[in-house]
């Protein structure tokens, strides 16, 4: 899932300062966390690790993560007001310094919950230059960069599930750029992560959602 260097990654991105890693990358992590959760959470507990913890406040990392959870892009001047905008949106947010062990210095963890008591745990790192990677979703190890549209499919770990999903994509004319499969343990829950060149349409989504053994589908747009 290596990122192709575009001229707009070198002269660009257009972003709100001051730091591509601590600000722009933090917004993108928040955006990805929001997309994986599926909506604006009502409660977010964010853990700041390493350099995010030590120099994050001066770089607006807290505001940037908040803005991402609210759905603002990295070049939105509203990022400066994210604290107030979160309160207006009914998002209760708190930050703690955490030690996540041997991970990238710019790493954050997210505990997101909604009004229906639905909760998701995520962890991700800002790798430099605005590049990011979500490394954990709940109990799954993942690599989500937000460079391409992503389809998340939770399913039962049993034969035929992957073939069923890729068959639908093939029939709907969606090209798969990369694919990862991760499972809790043999025969339990599993997660497919499918990066596609173009976003997956509603027809394909409906077909995948209604297939047997599929327990959840989420579309994570490129950010």
């Amino acid at each position: 899932m290596a990122r192709q260097r575009s001229v707009f990654d070198i002269v660009g991105p257009v972003m709100v300062g001051p730091s591509s890693s601590h600000t722009a990358g933090a917004v993108r992590l928040g955006l990805l966390a929001r997309a994986v959760f599926g909506s604006t959470p009502t409660c977010a507990r964010i853990g700041l690790h390493g350099s995010f913890a030590s120099t994050g406040r001066g770089h607006g990392t807290d505001l940037a993560l908040t803005a991402g959870l609210l759905g603002f892009p990295p070049d939105d001047l509203s990022i400066r007001d994210a604290e107030h905008l979160a309160a207006d949106a009914g998002l209760e947010i708190s930050f703690d310094v955490v030690d996540l062990g041997q991970v990238h210095p710019n790493t954050a963890s997210f505990e997101l919950s909604g009004p229906d008591a639905r909760a998701t745990h995520l962890q991700g790192s800002s790798l430099g230059g605005g590049d990011v990677m979500i490394t954990h979703i709940d109990s799954y190890d993942v690599e989500v960069t937000g460079e391409l549209p992503l389809l998340l499919v939770a399913h039962l770990d049993r034969p035929g599930e992957i073939a069923a999903v890729t068959a639908v994509l093939a029939e709907e004319g969606v090209n798969v750029a990369s694919m990862q499969v991760s499972r809790e343990r043999r025969g339990a829950g599993a997660l497919m992560l499918i990066e596609t060149d173009v976003p997956v349409g509603t027809a394909a989504l409906d077909r995948i959602s209604s297939a047997s053994g599929i327990t959840g589908v989420r579309v994570v747009p490129a950010v």
């Binding site: 707009f8 070198i10 002269v11 660009g12 430099g128």
Partner: protein, 285 residues
Amino acid sequence: MAYTSFADLLVAAEEHETLAAAALHLEALETGSAPEDLRARMRTTLDVMRSAVADGRSGRASSRSGLVGGDAARLTAAGPGPAGPFFSDALASALAVAEVNASMGRIVAAPTGGASGVLPGVLLGLAERTGASDDDLVDALFTAAAVGGIIAARASLSGAAGGCQAEIGSAAAMAAAAGVEMLGRQPAVSGHAASLALQGLLGLVCDPVGGLVEVPCVVRNATGTAIALAGIEMARAGIEFPIPFDEVVDAMGSVGRSLPPSLRETAIGGLAGTPTARNLKLEDR
């Protein structure tokens, strides 16, 4: 993928006539986008640079910590200095964008947020002085991006990986190459300008006071601009740097890898480690 050597970029420029055209051609090929759409997007990028210069020079930008802000306006108000109006203008524009960046304003990372003032500092004033059009400026930004892509491929654009030479040094090399092309010089002259700029910043450490993109980052955008302009002046006069740009970049990468972590954006060594820096009480909002 971007060009991985200036030698390759020169060969492509022979076919496409300019460095900018070679860069645009490859981007269109890689992304499947129409060249006119890519130019339109770069035009938007240029507009963001201009707005940031205007905002910063008005003096409205001040950082969250209160450490920086107002210097671009100070330089603007002081008027032309001994090196002439073009030079003080270029420095003011560079400071302006860097101050806007530090105040959570909107900028173009070029190649990073911390070094975002150098390209506007060098190129916007140069365009005004030479009567270059916005189309010429768009070309210049494509050329700058191609040079930055070469550095990304061979070394690094990150202060945490390679020190400030990888950020301000890269920005100065990108700006120098683009500036020389804007002056109508041959592609090879751009390579000398980029080398002449980058050699002057080799070894520069990343030592942000308090870990913030403020001191010395903001003023380093101005001094980086000055060095890029020196590279342009020398190269357009026919001065050649004997080490090819690709090797200068490799040297920068090698120097970066030998820098101790304390001098790579950890806010431990260099200016960040001085008694004054350690005793600074940074405001929090």
